[in-house]
């Protein structure tokens, strides 16, 4: 690194401080609150207005986004829940910039301390009075607001003391159920990518509450040593209570209650309102029939399927093997002969027929689509399964942000959500999802930096910070914050290649803008390969500078002015080039990108110069021709000079003769 002329290293400007979140909440990164964030780092937060006390700020992860829909909903005073109060950027531990969700701090410790293998078992009475009833009341209040919690587990439930009712912890700083262990989610959510579990329904919260009650009643988690895949498989095969409780004995009434709370079908689980009277909920009868069990297992991808549900799970885990089993007719034969479910086999014929008609034998995408349709038909409760991963359609956006799985873009490209909805949802919902799938595919397949996976990721996640490395870690979620952050980042570290925009930045701008910048984004279809890249960047950033009144941007302007030199050289006239270079330098010094663009992007003058250039070429050609003609006339000039000289001599002689004659006549 080169130093200053004096040999001292220049002092870098300090990273910018963030204003209080929502104008009032300040995060104290030096005062952590261990265990309060439900698996995420949390710190003491203060309300500058003094109206609220005992607050905490939960630090989010860059890849696990806070729940934008919930944070955008006014929750009011929900009892029994650490409701989100505000969210925004702040500096946490060691001054690191991050996005925080502010909510009340827990009233006491978590029910299950971190790393604890077991706790003292709760009595049935305590479970009902302190856990199930108050949590059911809170869930009912949330349901009325159209919300779910999706983070109910012993480590994220708190109480002030042993006699106090339980309070639901913060569930807003990650995607729904992102941190939930597999056992605390219904198998159809647990089998999904953690970031793709979707908002779900209150029935999912009831399930999680039931598993929590089971763990507290036992004082241990019998499934703790099992991998998540095994837990899911066991729950699918044996049912929730049998799979999770194992050999443990539960009191009769509690066992009945947990059996309905952990029912496989969400529709069979008691609503939270009913759970407020647990005895009534426990007496609820489960109306679904157990699946037909086959006489012999069908092995798919190493998983032995004994019924249609486990076959669906096996196909979901290994869709290539599943497609082979389906296309070979083995699954059809097994369903008819071993499971004795001819109607299900008939339903599977339609996607098989479509697969044979629509694509060739080696089309992996068609096989994935076949597997998706087969899973949806075999198990109507299963999520969207594609290429070995599973997501719920409303969790696709957060999944794209959280996971770098190649199956996800492929899923969008094949409009798998539309195919899934066509088999699962009501007609209106299917139509909506089909339109949504087409729009997402269009974004994904759009060429250049304004499209592709990055654009889709930002479009589906309004709280996803820009991931450009140029920003040097700054938390930029809103378009209005982008240009100042970029200016600060460029001022701290000037890009050596002059490129201030990259694919992430362009995709972020494209996703966050309201359509007014489309024409400016169109040139980025070919990335930054264009020789006018700096002008394109200045034009786009200049528009943002004007739209958000960011003030002067001298660092950005300086870099762009330097990068625009090749464009300046494209002006043919030297004097015009010099004049524009001077004006560009003035505009750059003033940090005015729009003025820079006006200097560089001058179509009227360009057209005039093109005409002038033609004239200059014609004039040069005319001069060349004139000089050539003059040089070629040298011989003629010699003859002319000779003749003229002789005539002059003759004239002189004649004049002498005339003078002599006059002299003679005059005497």
């Amino acid at each position: 690194m080169s130093g200053t002329p004096s040999g001292r290293t220049p002092t870098l400007p300090a990273p910018p401080a963030f204003p209080p979140i929502d104008g009032r909440f300040v995060v104290d990164g030096t005062r952590p609150l261990p265990g309060a964030g439900g698996g995420l780092p949390s710190f003491v937060a203060e309300d500058r207005t003094g109206r609220l006390a005992g607050l905490m700020a939960v630090e989010t992860r860059p890849d696990a986004l806070p729940r934008a829909a919930t944070l955008g909903t006014p929750l009011g005073d929900l009892a029994g829940v650490l409701v989100p109060l505000a969210h925004g950027p702040a500096r946490g531990q060691e001054g690191r910039a991050d996005w925080f969700v502010v909510c009340p701090a827990p009233p006491g410790p978590a029910l299950w301390p971190e790393e604890a293998g077991s706790i003292a078992p709760w009595t049935e009475a305590d479970l009902l009075r302190l856990l199930i009833v108050p949590v059911a009341a809170a869930l009912e209040a949330m349901r009325l607001r159209g919300l779910t919690h999706r983070a109910i587990r012993p480590g994220n439930l708190f109480r002030a003391d042993a006699a106090a009712p339980v309070v639901l912890g913060c569930a807003w700083a990650t995607p729904p159920a992102y941190l939930q262990p597999a056992a605390f989610e219904p198998p159809y959510a647990a089998m999904c990518l953690p970031g793709g579990r979707g908002e779900g329904s209150v029935a999912d919260d009831i399930y999680a509450l039931g598993v929590t009650a089971l763990a507290l009643a036992l004082g241990r988690m019998p499934w703790a040593a099992l991998p998540g895949e095994e837990v899911i498989h066991r729950v699918l095969v044996y049912g929730g209570v049998a799979a999770l409780a194992g050999e443990a004995r539960l009191p009769g009434s509690l066992a009945d209650l947990l059996r309905v709370m952990l029912a496989e079908d969400p529709g069979q689980r008691p609503p939270p309102d009913l759970l407020r009277t647990p005895l009534a909920a426990a007496s609820r009868r489960i109306g679904t029939r157990p699946p037909r069990r086959a006489q012999r297992a069908l092995s798919v991808g190493g998983i032995a399927a004994w019924d249609a549900r486990t076959l669906a799970y096996a196909i979901a885990r290994d869709p290539a093997a599943g497609a082979r089993v389906l296309r070979s007719g083995l699954a059809d034969h097994w369903l008819r002969r071993s499971v004795d479910d001819g109607s299900l086999a008939v339903r599977l014929e339609e996607p098989l027929q479509r697969r044979q008609n629509e694509a060739g034998a080696d089309d992996a995408g068609a096989d994935a689509l076949l597997a998706l349709r087969a899973v949806a038909l075999l198990d109507p409760l299963a999520p969207l399964c594609w290429g070995g991963v599973a997501v719920w359609p409303d969790g696709l956006g957060t999944a794209l942000a959280a996971h770098d799985a190649p199956q996800l873009p492929a899923l969008v490209r094949e409009e798998a959500t539309a195919a899934f909805a066509a088999l699962r949802g009501p007609v209106e919902e299917a139509a909506r999802l089909r339109q949504e799938a087409r729009a997402r595919r269009a974004l994904l397949e759009r060429r250049g930096w304004a499209g592709g996976p990055a654009r889709l990721r930002y479009a589906l996640n309004p709280l996803l910070p820009c991931r450009s490395r140029t920003l040097s870690g700054a938390q930029v979620v809103r378009l209005a914050d982008l240009v100042p952050a970029l200016e600060a980042a460029v001022a701290r570290r000037r890009p050596t290649d002059g490129a201030v925009l990259d694919a992430e930045l362009v995709a972020f701008i494209a996703a966050r803008q309201d359509g007014a910048l489309e024409s400016l984004l169109a040139p980025f279809a070919d990335g930054m390969g264009s020789p006018r890249a700096a002008v394109m960047a200045a034009r786009l950033l200049g528009r943002l500078q004007a739209a958000f009144a960011t003030g002067p941007l001298p660092a950005l302007a300086g870099v762009l002015a330097e990068a625009a030199r090749p464009d300046l050289d494209s002006w043919r006239s030297r004097s015009r080039r010099a004049e524009k270079a001077e004006r560009l330098a003035q505009a750059a010094a003033g940090g005015d990108l729009a003025a820079m663009v006006a200097v560089l992007d001058d179509p009227a003058t360009r057209a005039a110069e093109a005409a002038e250039w033609q004239e200059a070429q014609a004039a040069a050609a005319a001069i060349d021709a004139r000089i050539a003609a003059l040089v070629a006339g040298d011989a003629a000039r010699t003859a002319t000079a000779r003749a003229l000289g002789r005539e002059i001599a003759a004239g002189l002689g004649l004049a002498a003769l005339a003078a002599s004659g006059v002299a003679v006549l005059l005497g």
Binding site: R574, A620, L630, R642, G645, A649, L657, S660
Partner: protein, 148 residues
């Protein structure tokens, strides 16, 4: 030389010869004096290959200018052959006539060179102006230099 010019020159020579013969017969002293005083010019006339007698004409004009005085003196004095011989033998008269013709010859030889020098200078100035204009276009517009 074209045939027409040759014929014209031939007829001119014939007329000149006839005129000279008539002059020698009718005015012998004048012819004698003129022939002596204009001998260089007449010699140059006879030897000048150019159709317009570019070299001989100024010599003849200057010779006639110098010879006009002695011829008038001859005709004023009666025009005898002796007077003609006397005037032709007068060295100042002869020197003036022949000197004038020599000067005319010199002028006829030098004048074309001088004129050519003047014209070349004018041409050089024009080409320099054009080249300067072209250089300005090259510098301003980046027009490629002319192919050599």
């Amino acid at each position: 030389m074209s045939g027409v010019a040759a014929r014209r020159r031939g007829s001119g020579g014939w007329l000149l010869g006839a005129g000279a013969g008539a002059l020698a017969t009718l005015a012998t002293s004048t012819a004698l004096l003129g022939g002596v005083l204009l001998a260089p010019a007449l010699t140059a006339w006879a030897l000048d290959p150019s159709p317009q007698r570019d070299l001989a004409r100024p010599m003849l004009f200057c010779g006639l200018a110098a010879a006009l005085g002695p011829l008038v003196a001859l005709w004023s004095g009666g025009g005898g052959i002796a007077a003609g011989w006397a005037l032709a033998g007068d060295l100042p008269t002869l020197g003036l006539a022949w000197g004038a013709q020599a000067a005319a010859w010199l002028v006829a030889e030098v004048a074309p060179l001088l004129v050519e020098l003047v014209l070349a200078a004018r041409l050089g100035r024009r080409i320099a102006r054009l080249r300067a204009e072209r250089m300005r276009l090259e510098e301003e517009w980046g027009v490629p230099p002319p192919a050599t």
